[in-house]
C-alpha cells in the first residue's frame, strides 16, 4: 500500500512569492495515497530534512514527493535524506515548482494552479515507482593517454605519480608533440625544450608509465572502468631492445626527404629520429621513402648497425589491453594558409608560417638558430607578422579565434630583435587578445622595449619585387593604406582540429563541434569530461589552447582519472533500459538507435540447449538511460527503469484534471 508524503518548499520567497505553497500542500493532500502533506521555508536545510525523516517515521511513509527546485541540484540531497530514513532512494520524486514555475510566472493564481499540477503529477508517478538498486562494477585501475604532447605527458605523469599504471600512446616516433618544435615560450621566455625535455625523460623513466610511440589506437569498446582498447604498434623496423641510439644508421642513410618536424625547412633521412632529444631515442624507418623497401637496394643501416637492431621484417603489432579511463590529448594541426592567394604562401619562399619561424629561431632547428630567409639564407631586416590567418575569417578559414597567435606574434617580434639586432618587426593585427597572467605586459614589452610596430588592419596583398616582399595593407587607426618593403612575412596560421579528429571521436564516443574540436560534457561545469563516462579531454584537441591552459587541463583530467580509480568499485546508475524477453521480437531496432552501443543481441535457449529466439540485451555498464531505445521499440518490450510507460502516462493523465478537481475539493471541504 502506497503511503505518500508531500513536502512543498517555499525556497524563502523564491517560490512562496508567486506560488501559494499552503494551497498546494492542501490540494495534493486530497489525492489518493497521500497521507501527509506539508510546507516549509527551506526543505533542503537541516531542519527541513529532519522534517521529512520525522514524517516518514511518524506516518509510516514509503514514498516521498518534494516540490521545490530543479532536481539537477537537490535530487541527490533528498534521495540521501530518505535513504537515511530507511527508504529506497528511488521511491522519490521531485516536482520543479521554482525554475519551471515561480521564476517564470508572475500571476500568482495561475502559478499556484500550475504548481498543483506539477506536484500532483509527481505524486501519481511516485505511486508507481519501484525500488531500484545500483550494481557494483569493478574498475581496471590502468589509464590510457592518447597523444604524447605536453598535455598527454602531464596527464600521464600525474596519474602515474598517484600510483596507477599508464599507457601513453603517441602516433609519431617520439613524444613531445608541438611544444617540442617551439623555441621559447611566452610570456616568460623560458625555452620550450628546457622545460619539456625533462618531463619527456620523466615519462620514459617512470615505473608506472609505458610509452608506445609510432602507435595508434585502433579500436575502443567497453565502458567506464572497463574499456577494451586495441592499439596498433606500427613496425618501426628497429628493434627497440637492441638499439642504443648511437645514430650511425641515420648518419649513413643516403635518402634525404623534407622533415615534418622542421615543417619542410630541413631534411631528414629515410631512417630517422624526428629531433635530437626524441624519447625514445630509437629511430624508425620511413618505409615509403627507404630504398630497401622501395627498390630492395641499399641496406646500409643494417650493415652498419653495431647491435644488429635493424629489422626489415618487423610487422605491425596489435595489442589489446583493458583500461579503466582514457585521457584524450590528441592536439591540433596548423591550418594551411595557401587559401589566401593574395598572401603568396607557397609561391614565395620567404612567406612562412609562425611554426616555421619557430624552427628558424630554434637552436636545434635547420639553421641552428640563425634566423635567415629560406630563399637566400640572408638574415631578414624587415619582418612582417600577420595575425588571424584563417582565424576570425569565415571567408578563408574559421570564424573562431585561435587564441595563442597574438601572444606568439609578440614573442616573435621580440625574439626577432634578439636574433637580428637591427631588424624591425611589423605586426598587422585585428585586436590584441592578451588575456592571461603577464600576457598584456609581455605585448607592451614587445612594443615599448623592442620597438615592434603594431598596425591595426588587414593585409591586402603580398608580392615579390626583386628580393623584397611588398606588403600592402591598411592602418585603420591612421586611416591610411600602408606599404612595407619586407624581407620576410610570417603568417599566424590558425589552429585547426587534427585531420582525423572526427574518426578518433567516433572511436571514443566523443561528440565534436562543427569544426571537429572535441566537445566537453558541459562548457562551464564539466570542462574535462565528455559525455561518455570515463573519457576525459586534455589540451588543444578540445579548442585552441596555449601551454599553461593545456597543462592545467591535463592535470584536471588526471585528477578526474585518479578520483575514479580511488573508488573501490563503480556504482552503476540503476535507471537503465530493461528488456521484456517474453515479448521482444529481436528486431534490434533498439541496437540501431542506441547512441552508446549498449545493446547487443542475445540468444535464448530452451532446457535442452536449443536456441529459441534472439532478443535484445542491455549492457548496464554502457547504458546511459537516455530512453532512445524505448521510443524506438515497436512492441514496447524495452522500458527504462524509473521511467516506465505506466509512470509517464500516469503523469500525463493527471495533467487533465489535477488542479481543477483538487481545488474544487479543497473549497468544498
Amino acid at each position: 500500500m502506497a503511503r505518500v508524503g508531500v513536502f512543498v518548499c517555499w525556497c524563502g520567497s523564491n517560490i512562496a512569492k508567486t506560488v501559494d505553497v499552503e494551497k498546494v500542500a492542501q490540494a495534493v493532500s486530497k489525492l489518493p495515497h497521500v497521507v501527509y502533506s506539508t510546507h516549509y521555508k527551506y526543505m533542503c536545510s537541516e531542519p527541513g530534512q529532519s522534517l521529512i525523516k520525522q514524517a516518514i517515521e511518524e506516518h509510516r511513509l514509503n514514498r516521498i514527493v518534494v516540490a521545490s527546485c530543479s532536481p539537477r541540484l537537490h535530487e541527490p540531497t533528498f534521495q540521501r535524506c530518505i535513504g537515511e530514513a530507511g527508504l529506497n532512494p528511488y521511491m522519490f520524486e521531485m516536482a520543479n515548482i521554482r525554475e519551471q514555475c515561480s521564476w517564470v510566472h508572475d500571476d500568482k493564481e495561475a502559478a499556484t494552479k500550475k504548481a498543483i499540477d506539477l506536484t500532483a503529477m509527481a505524486v501519481e508517478k511516485v505511486i508507481r515507482n519501484e525500488p531500484l538498486t545500483s550494481k557494483e562494477i569493478p574498475i581496471t585501475k590502468r589509464a590510457l593517454v592518447i597523444g604524447g604532447g605536453v598535455a598527454g605527458i602531464q596527464a600521464a605523469l600525474d596519474i602515474a605519480d598517484a600510483g596507477y599504471p599508464v599507457t601513453l600512446v603517441e602516433r609519431t616516433p617520439s613524444i613531445g608533440g608541438r611544444m617540442a618544435q617551439y623555441d621559447k615560450t611566452f610570456p616568460t621566455l623560458d625555452c620550450a625544450a628546457c622545460i619539456l625535455t625533462p618531463k619527456m625523460v620523466d615519462c620514459a623513466s617512470h615505473p608506472n608509465i609505458n610509452i608506445m610511440t609510432y602507435s595508434e589506437v585502433e579500436n575502443v569498446s567497453g565502458f567506464v572502468g572497463n574499456f577494451d582498447v586495441t592499439i596498433r604498434r606500427r613496425a618501426r623496423s628497429v628493434d627497440m631492445s637492441k638499439c642504443t641510439g648511437c645514430g650511425v644508421c641515420y648518419e649513413k642513410c643516403p635518402v634525404k626527404v623534407p622533415s615534418e618536424f622542421e615543417c619542410g625547412l630541413g631534411q631528414r633521412r629515410a631512417i630517422y629520429v624526428p629531433f635530437p632529444q626524441a624519447v625514445p631515442n630509437v629511430p624508425v624507418i620511413d618505409r615509403e621513402k627507404c630504398r630497401k623497401f622501395t627498390e630492395d637496394k641499399c641496406g646500409a643501416c643494417q650493415k652498419l648497425c653495431p647491435t644488429g637492431a635493424i629489422d626489415y621484417e618487423q610487422q605491425d603489432e596489435l595489442i589489446t589491453e583493458k583500461f579503466g579511463a582514457i585521457v584524450v590529448a590528441t592536439g591540433f594541426d596548423v591550418w594551411d594558409p595557401s587559401a589566401y592567394g593574395n598572401l603568396g604562401y607557397g609561391r614565395y619562399p620567404d612567406v612562412i608560417t609562425s611554426l616555421q619561424f619557430e624552427r628558424l629561431i630554434n637552436a636545434s632547428g635547420p639553421t641552428e638558430g640563425k634566423l635567415v630567409r629560406p630563399s637566400d639564407h640572408k638574415p631578414p631586416k624587415n619582418v612582417v607578422f600577420i595575425s588571424c590567418i584563417g582565424s576570425r575569417d569565415e571567408e578563408h578559414g574559421y570564424p573562431y579565434c585561435s587564441k595563442v597567435c597574438c601572444m606568439y606574434n609578440a614573442k616573435h617580434a621580440l625574439l626577432l630583435k634578439e636574433k637580428v639586432h637591427d631588424a624591425q618587426a611589423y605586426v598587422f593585427y585585428m585586436d590584441i587578445r592578451a588575456n592571461g597572467k603577464g600576457y598584456e605586459e609581455f605585448v607592451r614589452r614587445a612594443i615599448e622595449k623592442y620597438g615592434a610596430v603594431y598596425l591595426r588592419g588587414r593585409v591586402s596583398r603580398v608580392f615579390q619585387v626583386g628580393d623584397k616582399l611588398i606588403v600592402r595593407g591598411a592602418d585603420t587607426l591612421a586611416g591610411k593604406p600602408v606599404e612595407i618593403e619586407a624581407d620576410m612575412v610570417v603568417l599566424a596560421a590558425a589552429m585547426e582540429a587534427q585531420p582525423d579528429a572526427k574518426e578518433v571521436a567516433r572511436k571514443l564516443g566523443i561528440s565534436t563541434d562543427e569544426y571537429n574540436w572535441f566537445s566537453e560534457a558541459h562548457p562551464k561545469l564539466r570542462p574535462v569530461e565528455v559525455l561518455t563516462a570515463g573519457v576525459y579531454l586534455a589540451g588543444a584537441c578540445q579548442y585552441p589552447k596555449d601551454i599553461p591552459d593545456s597543462v592545467a587541463q591535463a592535470s584536471g583530467a588526471a585528477s578526474k582519472v585518479v578520483g575514479l580509480f580511488a573508488k573501490p568499485n563503480l556504482l552503476s546508475e540503476p535507471t537503465v533500459a530493461e528488456v521484456d524477453e517474453s515479448t521482444c521480437a529481436g528486431c534490434l531496432l533498439c541496437k540501431e538507435v542506441c547512441p552508446f552501443s549498449a545493446i547487443e543481441p542475445k540468444v535464448i535457449y530452451d532446457k535442452a540447449g536449443n536456441p529459441i529466439k534472439t532478443v535484445a540485451s542491455v549492457n548496464e555498464g554502457l547504458c546511459h538511460g537516455c530512453g532512445t531505445c524505448v521510443a524506438g521499440c515497436r512492441s514496447a518490450s524495452i522500458q527504462l527503469k524509473g521511467y516506465k510507460d505506466a509512470q509517464i502516462l500516469a503523469e500525463v493523465d493527471t495533467l487533465a484534471f489535477a488542479s481543477e478537481d483538487l481545488t474544487a475539493e479543497v473549497s468544498k471541504a
Partner: protein, 288 residues
C-alpha cells in the same frame, strides 16, 4: 561553338579595336558570334554606384534577350561581364527578387543560359589548338599579361581562373610563342573610371603598373578590358609630364596579339587605333 555576343558600349566606340580583333580571332577559332539584337548598356560603374535595382535590371534585359536566342553570352569587356554575371547570379539564386523585376520592368529571364568572359571562352582552348592556328610566332615580344582588378573579382561571381594569381591569358600568350614575364601586378587596379573624375590617381596607378611591367622586363602589355587598355595607353604622356618617365610601351588587347600570331590582316585588328605606336615593338618579332 555559337554565342550571343554582347559587345557593350566601349567596343562600339573607344575600344573598337577590341571588337574588330575579337570578331577576327573568333572567326579563326571557329567561334560563331551573334550580336544580341537591341542590346542596351550594362550600367557599368554608374548604375551600381547609384541604383542597385537599375544595376541588375539593365544587364537582366540583355540576359533575357540572349535567352530568347537560346545562346550563352560572351562579353569581352570586364565591366560588362561583371554586371551580366551579377545579374545572372541574382536570377539563379534569388527568385523573390527576380519576381519584382518581371513585375516592375516586364523582364522575364529564367536563368537557363550562362555568361562567359571572352578570355574565359578562349582559355578553354588547349595550347595545341591555339598553336595550330599560329602562322607567325610572337618570339621577341616580352609581354606582361594584365588582367586588371575587375575581370576575376569578386571570385564568387566571376568564377574563373585564380583571382590572386591568374594564368589564363599567360597561357594563351605563351602558346602564341611570346615570352610572358612573371610580374606581381597582374590584377592591380588601373584607376578605372576615376580617369574622368580624378585623373591624377589614374596617372599614379597606371605609372606604377607600367613601371612594374618594365621592371619585369616586358616590352608591351596585354589587356582584356577596354578601361584598363584605355588608361594604360592614353595616360603615358601625362606620366611623362608628371613623373618624367617615358615608357612608350604599347598596350594591346590580347585578341590583337592573337590575331597577329594567327597572321590575320592587320586592318582587322585595329592596331592603328592604339595611342602608343606598337611599330617599334612589333619590329622585334622574330628577332630572337
Amino acid at each position: 561553338m555559337k554565342y550571343a555576343y554582347y559587345p557593350g558600349c566601349s567596343l562600339h566606340s573607344t575600344a573598337n579595336e577590341y571588337d574588330l580583333s575579337t570578331q577576327a580571332v573568333c572567326k579563326t577559332l571557329g567561334i560563331e558570334l551573334e550580336e544580341i539584337p537591341d542590346w542596351n548598356c550594362c550600367g557599368a560603374t554608374s548604375a551600381h554606384s547609384l541604383n542597385h535595382e537599375l544595376a541588375i535590371a539593365l544587364p537582366l534585359r540583355n540576359l533575357a534577350k540572349a535567352e530568347e536566342m537560346g545562346l550563352d553570352i560572351v562579353a569581352p569587356c570586364a565591366a560588362c561581364f561583371s554586371r551580366l554575371k551579377h545579374a545572372d547570379m541574382v536570377a539563379k539564386t534569388d527568385p523573390e527578387r527576380m519576381h519584382t523585376f518581371s513585375e516592375k520592368f516586364g523582364i522575364h529571364y529564367s536563368g537557363k543560359i550562362n555568361v562567359y568572359s571572352l578570355l574565359q571562352v578562349i582559355s578553354q582552348y588547349s595550347e595545341e589548338e591555339i598553336k595550330s592556328h599560329v602562322k607567325r610566332g610572337l618570339s621577341g615580344l616580352k609581354i606582361a599579361a594584365y588582367y586588371g582588378c575587375l575581370l576575376l573579382r569578386p571570385p564568387k561571381v566571376a568564377a574563373f581562373d585564380d583571382p590572386e594569381n591568374p594564368v589564363s591569358m599567360d597561357r594563351i600568350l605563351a602558346a602564341l610563342g611570346a615570352e610572358v614575364v612573371d610580374w606581381p601586378y597582374k590584377n592591380e587596379c588601373c584607376g578605372a573610371s576615376l580617369s574622368i573624375s580624378k585623373s591624377d590617381i589614374v596617372v599614379k596607378l597606371t605609372r606604377d603598373i607600367l613601371s612594374m611591367a618594365k621592371r619585369a622586363g616586358a616590352n608591351c602589355i596585354s589587356t582584356a578590358c577596354p578601361l584598363c587598355q584605355g588608361n594604360l595607353d592614353m595616360r603615358q604622356p601625362d606620366i611623362q609630364r608628371n613623373y618624367g618617365e617615358n615608357y612608350e610601351m604599347p598596350i594591346f588587347y590580347f585578341t590583337q596579339l592573337m590575331g597577329l600570331a594567327f597572321g590575320l590582316w592587320e586592318g582587322n585588328l585595329g592596331l592603328k587605333k592604339l595611342m602608343v605606336s606598337p611599330d617599334a615593338v612589333l619590329s622585334e618579332i622574330g628577332t630572337e
